[in-house]
Subunit: 232 residues, 6 copies
Amino acid sequence: MADLSATIREALMRVGTSTLTGLLNRRGLKNMYLQDVWPIRPGMPRMVGIAFTMRFIPTREDKVGSRGNVQQRAMEECPPGHVLVVDARGDARAASAGDLYIGRLAARGCAGIVTDGGLRDSEGVLKTGLPAYHRRPSSPPSPIVHQPYDLGLPIACGGVAVYPGDIVVGDCDGVVVIPPDIVDEIAAEAVASTLYDEFAEGEVAKGRSLVGLFPVANDEAKRDFEIWKKSR
Amino acid sequence: MADLSATIREALMRVGTSTLTGLLNRRGLKNMYLQDVWPIRPGMPRMVGIAFTMRFIPTREDKVGSRGNVQQRAMEECPPGHVLVVDARGDARAASAGDLYIGRLAARGCAGIVTDGGLRDSEGVLKTGLPAYHRRPSSPPSPIVHQPYDLGLPIACGGVAVYPGDIVVGDCDGVVVIPPDIVDEIAAEAVASTLYDEFAEGEVAKGRSLVGLFPVANDEAKRDFEIWKKSR
Amino acid sequence: MADLSATIREALMRVGTSTLTGLLNRRGLKNMYLQDVWPIRPGMPRMVGIAFTMRFIPTREDKVGSRGNVQQRAMEECPPGHVLVVDARGDARAASAGDLYIGRLAARGCAGIVTDGGLRDSEGVLKTGLPAYHRRPSSPPSPIVHQPYDLGLPIACGGVAVYPGDIVVGDCDGVVVIPPDIVDEIAAEAVASTLYDEFAEGEVAKGRSLVGLFPVANDEAKRDFEIWKKSR
Amino acid sequence: MADLSATIREALMRVGTSTLTGLLNRRGLKNMYLQDVWPIRPGMPRMVGIAFTMRFIPTREDKVGSRGNVQQRAMEECPPGHVLVVDARGDARAASAGDLYIGRLAARGCAGIVTDGGLRDSEGVLKTGLPAYHRRPSSPPSPIVHQPYDLGLPIACGGVAVYPGDIVVGDCDGVVVIPPDIVDEIAAEAVASTLYDEFAEGEVAKGRSLVGLFPVANDEAKRDFEIWKKSR
Amino acid sequence: MADLSATIREALMRVGTSTLTGLLNRRGLKNMYLQDVWPIRPGMPRMVGIAFTMRFIPTREDKVGSRGNVQQRAMEECPPGHVLVVDARGDARAASAGDLYIGRLAARGCAGIVTDGGLRDSEGVLKTGLPAYHRRPSSPPSPIVHQPYDLGLPIACGGVAVYPGDIVVGDCDGVVVIPPDIVDEIAAEAVASTLYDEFAEGEVAKGRSLVGLFPVANDEAKRDFEIWKKSR
Amino acid sequence: MADLSATIREALMRVGTSTLTGLLNRRGLKNMYLQDVWPIRPGMPRMVGIAFTMRFIPTREDKVGSRGNVQQRAMEECPPGHVLVVDARGDARAASAGDLYIGRLAARGCAGIVTDGGLRDSEGVLKTGLPAYHRRPSSPPSPIVHQPYDLGLPIACGGVAVYPGDIVVGDCDGVVVIPPDIVDEIAAEAVASTLYDEFAEGEVAKGRSLVGLFPVANDEAKRDFEIWKKSR
């Protein structure tokens, strides 16, 4: 089972999805941000965890009940520290999950839930405290549209391939996926980059021009950054 | 004219649209949730009322003014306790109504307004205190896109057939429609179901497994629920 | 360079985009409201400024870097009191700008930023205090999708033609564009119209019928309005 | 009942929808072309007729059969020389009609069928010989999505308001609607305009510049046109 | 492995997808028609076969080549008499397959290919003679957007759940899926229903009313049908 | 002015857009195929030419006539051998051009017209013989939606950046753009690749497996290809 050290987890908690997509892009990973997937409320806490996947296919009247309760199993089997990522084919006409299911994930120490479909009972979901991301609220029960089919396969979510074991990070702007084999270096670079951004934000607020400061730092900016770091 | 007892109204005020769509689905009513129709602000009060309908058709330059002010009539004629439901063909390029019209509904004791188009002056609408649901804000005046044509016909709203006299319920996740002839039993079941959910949420928060608890309760869960109800 | 007096600016700060689209419509200007362009947060301050434009075209791998940093230049050259309006072809798969760029606009005294694509680092953008409008949040860096190509040309934004020098006004419902040659009269009429709306809202709240009051005022309403104005 | 003389009918059979939308636009009628509504096959004969309307609303499981067979009535009651125009809310997930229904329209001397949803049995429809326009083919039977509700009301079709009695014209590019009170003059102008286009096409094919020829004719072009007309 | 007798195959070759969706709907199967999936050319031969499935997920730059050539394997392993059904998530920005791959399916005696994405080299595909269905043509090579991931799983295609072993039928209006356990009775009913339609079409063409004939046959129509059958 | 030798032109006339997108992709050019842009009829001749661009912005009632007739100028100034590529923002609600304009392009020796909006008078356009590509037919005159603004700028068309001087190639599957500095080598490779495809198609039709043949050729396949070439 994939793992994520407390250090990396904390580091990723302090960096934004914008910083991460920028660093992933530099490595040629251009499609790691889930399109049209949002926090259920703007003020929700950030999310860091390891991907555990569930795949929905469309409901078919002759197959109802043929798979047991895969959805319930997902809530019972998603390991602590993991994020349940759901492939709902971008279809939010019926819910991907609701507050009781998500409450169970929370109680079991999971790190969040992400679907490119909808979530129901958003008020109840909010009360569970678990970071939850979806396309939009959706009250109808999932079997109207979805049949949960399997767990643990690579899936599509928000137009992005999500593999079990991927690192999943969410903030108020959405959700990004990081391959586990580069997460350590990405986290380290992200912390450094976030620090530079903090410095640059201060400079910009004081009226400094972007030229030589951002997006590319010249020697002077690098020197000032070193001084700023020491003086913090 | 359709009616809704205070008891049923209060009961529906305390249950969520997710609970209602679940119960409607069990009766084979699969398409009662208005798709892509949202409260104008997340914190808005819940809504319960009886449907009174207005139908827009597209504006045509040679027909302007040919119908008198159907829109104004809607605001003056929608009965107290009713929700004005507007068929805007899902088109939010121009508004379905604004704060003065909606203020009049509020002053006349109506229960809310729902459109699958847009509302304008959302800040003013919020001040009226009337629950208001739409697809998205839209500032342009309605005649740019819409001709209000008739009142009191069955319409489409958010992909759902809404008949005058239907019961309309809204919460932070959206709007659901209930046929009036089953509203009493749906309300009773919804209250019971909401109580069970409250029990189950507590159990889940304490770490209980979903197996045998939700979505299907086994004998043990039923027994524990009875005990919990008595101890409240 | 276009100019906007402090008086007009303050007047426009106090009127809503609904009022403005109504007045523009009466002059035959039917398409001045940017469709699907929203404040990054509901509570954001209103925006009034003069349009300064940037045009994106799609990225092409063989053209990367061929234009210098047009995006940085936009942030350095957008004049104080101006709104940077970005033609992102409605494509929010990658960001149009982020918090450092927008912080520079704020520091330089610009009036806002508007894109029909996405903005990244929305929390940081919020901290800059600059009114910012977009289609939806978007974390990926802009070069994945966009090549900034030129500044100062008429563009499309949210389905509306925006010419440099146009007056741009934003509130919680979205963004509207006003031709500079009629902004003085539009502002004056908007203030008057807003005052009448305030009067009418009070009347409606007291239970007065819309007939003769709104949308068309009869003699009685006009008289009452005059009395109300004196008594304020 | 609206009427259309054989002369006007024949005139409209010889002019294209492009010519008609141009002439309607000059009278301020800007939205008379049905968007996304196409002939079922490119080679289909042109269509001219008077609008007879049917309105679908979404299906609801508790209302099935509550309206008798409105759809069958439409096929039996649409008068000869008329076009059955269907408001399917742009929804082609299930059919608006099929070959037997359309065969009956053909047998009864109707002039065509138009829907902004889908038609089924397109091969069979083609065999009936009746001009038929839709968004796309759709095999599922209509009750899966649609409840036919009423006949003879103004409706929306392809984003255009269609009133019973309107003149409906279709060619290989789509369908246009003409108000009956101006159809005589529109038809006359369209014939004249089509003749000029024929002349101009010949000139353009011979290498003549568009300047002074099209879209605005100068005196020379007008003179040449007169000569050309005589020499035909 | 699922099987399909020559008799059933031939029966299904002679009935339309409209007839089949009607019969499936009567058994409560409401979502068996693939939405927005079309023959590559209108005149293409009909298709009957057994579903063999391939699932694409989105491409990811760090996973290229990690699955061997699943796509090539699909073409080599799809059994004779089977239809390769591809889950492309409705994404036609890059191709699902091209003429060489499809030529191999044809050479191996497969019955067709269906994707809810795009096909490339449509002229070459046409030359292979294999029935081919897609959303629209798409020239770019599949790896730009798609990673072929697995064969033989239930998938989504055109919004429909397709299980390996399902019977897949295509005509000029699109593609429908039939559960294998009811295909015999569906085929028999479809042939009978098609015969009645042929009779009814003739009657309608002769001017007979739909009342009592279609969609519901009365005793007279049943009697006439029996006579007609004998006289054929 | 960009140029294109007769040899390259003829080579490109004989290769498909699928072959070209494949070769461009190998050079890292992943977005050169115009999405949702189609030939006006399936049987239209192929197109090869050099890009000459026109940019539309949305119409605004206060700017009508402010640019002279840019559209007419486009038809008079697009050089022989060039393709007029139009940025219509993917908006086909009104036409980008019609048969007289396109007839003039044909008479002047231009190579084609491409828009991501619509074309009107498609029958007339077909008669001009000029290859013409669009999103869908659209009868309404362009000023209802579009203001032609400038010629000769890089534009977006079908989601692709098109620079003046780019090589534009169209077949029955759509349109692809080639940077002029690599067109010679792309053309040469495309001819070679097309020849191999022809060989491979023959082999596949004879029953040869794809393994070692396509998409990757092994030594045996290379040897057989050499023999086949000599025997042609």
